[in-house]
């Protein structure tokens, strides 16, 4: 099943990637090529096979840990160090275009 222009537009929107019309056409062609490669998976009989998410669970029981739901201690200098990489900040806040008028 080939990927259409509409599919590309939908995927690009979901991935939040702005594509020019030329980029979109090239993407469509590339994705169709890649789809041809991964299509082989469909031919494999996997009835009764559980999906393997964590590779080591093929070897042993794996239970992913959850950390305690509490704030990590931090201070003002850590806060400013963390925010130093932001494109735009003011008064300890990240600046973005107006969302609510």
């Amino acid at each position: 099943m080939a990927i259409t222009d509409q599919d590309v537009a939908r995927i690009a929107h979901l991935a939040r990637i702005a594509l020019s019309p030329e980029d979109a056409e090239q993407t469509r062609q590339e994705l169709n090529g890649i789809l041809g490669l991964i299509e082989q998976l469909q031919a494999v009989d996997t009835r009764g096979v559980e999906p393997l998410a964590h590779p080591l669970s093929a070897h042993q029981d794996i239970s992913l840990r959850l950390r305690d739901d509490k704030a990590a201690p931090g201070d003002e200098s850590q806060r400013s160090a963390l925010m130093a990489n932001a494109p735009a900040t003011a008064e300890g806040l990240f600046l973005v275009p107006t969302v609510i008028e």
């Binding site: 990637i17 080591l56 932001a86």
Partner: protein, 508 residues
């Protein structure tokens, strides 16, 4: 023409460490000569960020410890980090325009463990953008070059790491391996590299690509030096949710890999030290795509192993070819999820012109990511879409289980270690395959299965091509879960009997 750095006069980290502890050479001298060499070999484009002051400060700390007799196994040893490990001080770009100006407020666990062990960092190494690629050509800062032939790729994604070690700029380097990114560049640059079992080395502070696959691993000249780096970084870390507290009953902490290495080593005695070792050779690794010169070099290496007492047994990994589509569903799916964090708000590139918030994010991402990263994000988004999730993503994960079972079948019934080629050919030319984005993907066929199964594997040099400028060939060694130490001991045995790992490229 530059002189080689001081550390290249020493055959191993152990020998250099002894000289440092005896005061025959200082960490600052080593750092200065390595910094000079890095600058003299800027043609390789192996380094993305060097800061002499930071390096010298680490070297001075090392010398202070050494003068007090408190030097450890890595104190004063010059290394460098792949630019996907975050570092305080040095920028961390993941070779992407997206992170061109990013400086981390903290160090990756691997970086701090190596610093604690005394290693001195020369800086940050080039790689494929977000570790996506097999030739280092996807770096936003230009390709790194292969020290054996400047027109050839060094492999990828840890291409700068392999090139720096091969050129003698550092004793060892860190790398990461998601689908072969330590083993493949090691093979193409004629150095040694190991990807340990998934979950043994912390991924905290490693820029994420495919979280169920990503694993850190070192590159160095030979197995003994790999052991010196791998042992201190193999440790449980509560800040990485996939970090394993124990490895088949042994605590995941420094000393575990070394103990396994020592045990395997002491069992190797006499003229046939590998007597009893069963080497599984998968028929599927010697298919029509394998170039004759790689096949010959691997065959010769297997014969060397037989002369050391090992026995060759045929094994089958029938789903080897399926590892390509399975990997290129799972890795892009995880990449699309992981890279959603780059929104132009908290860090990373922000477009200069935009309308609303959604437009700002979409433009920033389109501008900040290079073509291969965009391609994988879009593929990943597609296979995770409602309606395709089961057909692609879950199906790939089911096949992933079958691939892992194939390896277990081989280890349970036939062999102790699996060997074969790392790559179908030697390093390609820079610019080759540029019109076909998936051509490089197919060449990952021998490394992807290991990554999907989470097994440890390594690459060691085993020969050269017959071309005018000979290019290195790698032998892949695949072990069962947690047998990094055994793998290193088996590789070390080969390197005691051969000198491929001692060959050095002529300076061009």
């Amino acid at each position: 023409m530059s002189t080689m750095p001081l550390h290249t006069e020493f055959d191993s980290i152990e020998a250099l460490g002894a000289a440092l502890r005896q005061g025959k050479v200082s960490a600052v001298e080593l750092a200065d000569s390595a910094l000079d060499a890095v600058q003299a070999r800027s043609d390789l484009n192996a380094f993305l960020h060097v800061d002499a002051e930071l390096t010298r400060a680490q070297a001075q700390t090392a010398d202070a410890l050494l003068s007090q007799g408190r030097g450890g196994s890595l104190t004063g040893i010059p290394i460098a980090h792949k630019d996907v490990f975050v570092t305080r001080g040095w920028r961390t770009t993941a070779a992407s325009k997206m992170l061109a100006d990013y400086t981390s407020p903290f160090d990756a666990t691997v970086v701090s463990l190596l610093e604690q062990a005394g290693a001195v960092s020369l800086g940050k190494l080039n790689c494929d953008e977000f570790a996506m690629g097999s030739g280092n050509e996807n770096s936003a800062f230009g390709p790194a070059r292969n020290p054996w032939d400047a027109d050839a790729v060094p492999g990828g994604s840890s291409g700068g790491s392999a090139a720096a070690v091969a050129a003698g700029l550092v004793m060892a380097a860190t790398g990461t391996d998601t689908g072969g990114s330590v083993r493949q560049p090691a093979a193409l640059c004629g150095v040694s590299g190991i990807k340990p079992t998934y979950g043994t080395v912390s991924r905290f502070g490693m820029v994420a690509f495919g979280s169920s696959l990503d694993q850190a691993g070192p590159l160095a000249r030979h197995a003994r030096d790999l052991l010196e780096l791998l042992d201190p970084i193999s440790a449980f870390d509560e800040r990485d949710a996939t970090s394993l507290p124990d490895c088949d009953g042994a605590a995941n902490k420094p000393g575990r890999v070394r103990a396994d290495f020592d045990a395997a080593r002491s069992a190797q005695q006499g003229g046939k030290p590998l007597q009893g070792l069963r080497i599984g050779v998968p028929a599927e690794f010697f298919n029509e795509g394998l170039s004759p010169e790689v096949a010959q070099a691997v065959e010769a290496a297997l014969q060397t192993y037989e002369s050391l007492g090992a026995r060759r047994v045929e094994v089958s990994l029938p789903r080897t070819k399926l590892s390509i589509p399975a990997y290129y569903v799972i890795a892009p799916a995880e990449a699309s999820s992981n890279l959603s964090r780059y929104d132009g708000v908290r860090y990373g590139h922000r477009s200069a012109s935009y309308g609303d918030l959604a437009d700002m994010t979409s433009r920033s991402r389109a501008e900040g990511f290079g073509p291969e990263v965009l391609r994988r994000i879009l593929v990943g988004t597609y296979v995770l879409c409602h309606g395709y999730y089961d057909a692609y993503y879950l199906q790939a994960q089911r096949i992933r289980r079958l691939i892992a079972q194939d390896f277990q079948q081989a280890f349970a019934n036939h062999c102790d270690v699996i060997m074969g080629p790392v790559t179908p050919t030697v390093a390609k030319r820079i610019g080759e395959n540029r019109d076909d984005p998936t051509a490089d993907w197919l060449a990952d066929v021998y490394t992807l299965g290991v990554s999907l199964a989470g097994l440890p594997a390594m690459s060691i040099p085993c020969g050269f091509s017959g071309s005018a400028k000979p290019l290195p060939i790698g032998l892949q060694l695949i072990g069962n879960y947690f047998r990094e130490g055994q793998l290193l001991a088996i590789a070390d045995r080969f390197q005691q009997a051969t000198d491929w790992h001692q060959r050095k490229p002529e300076q061009q």
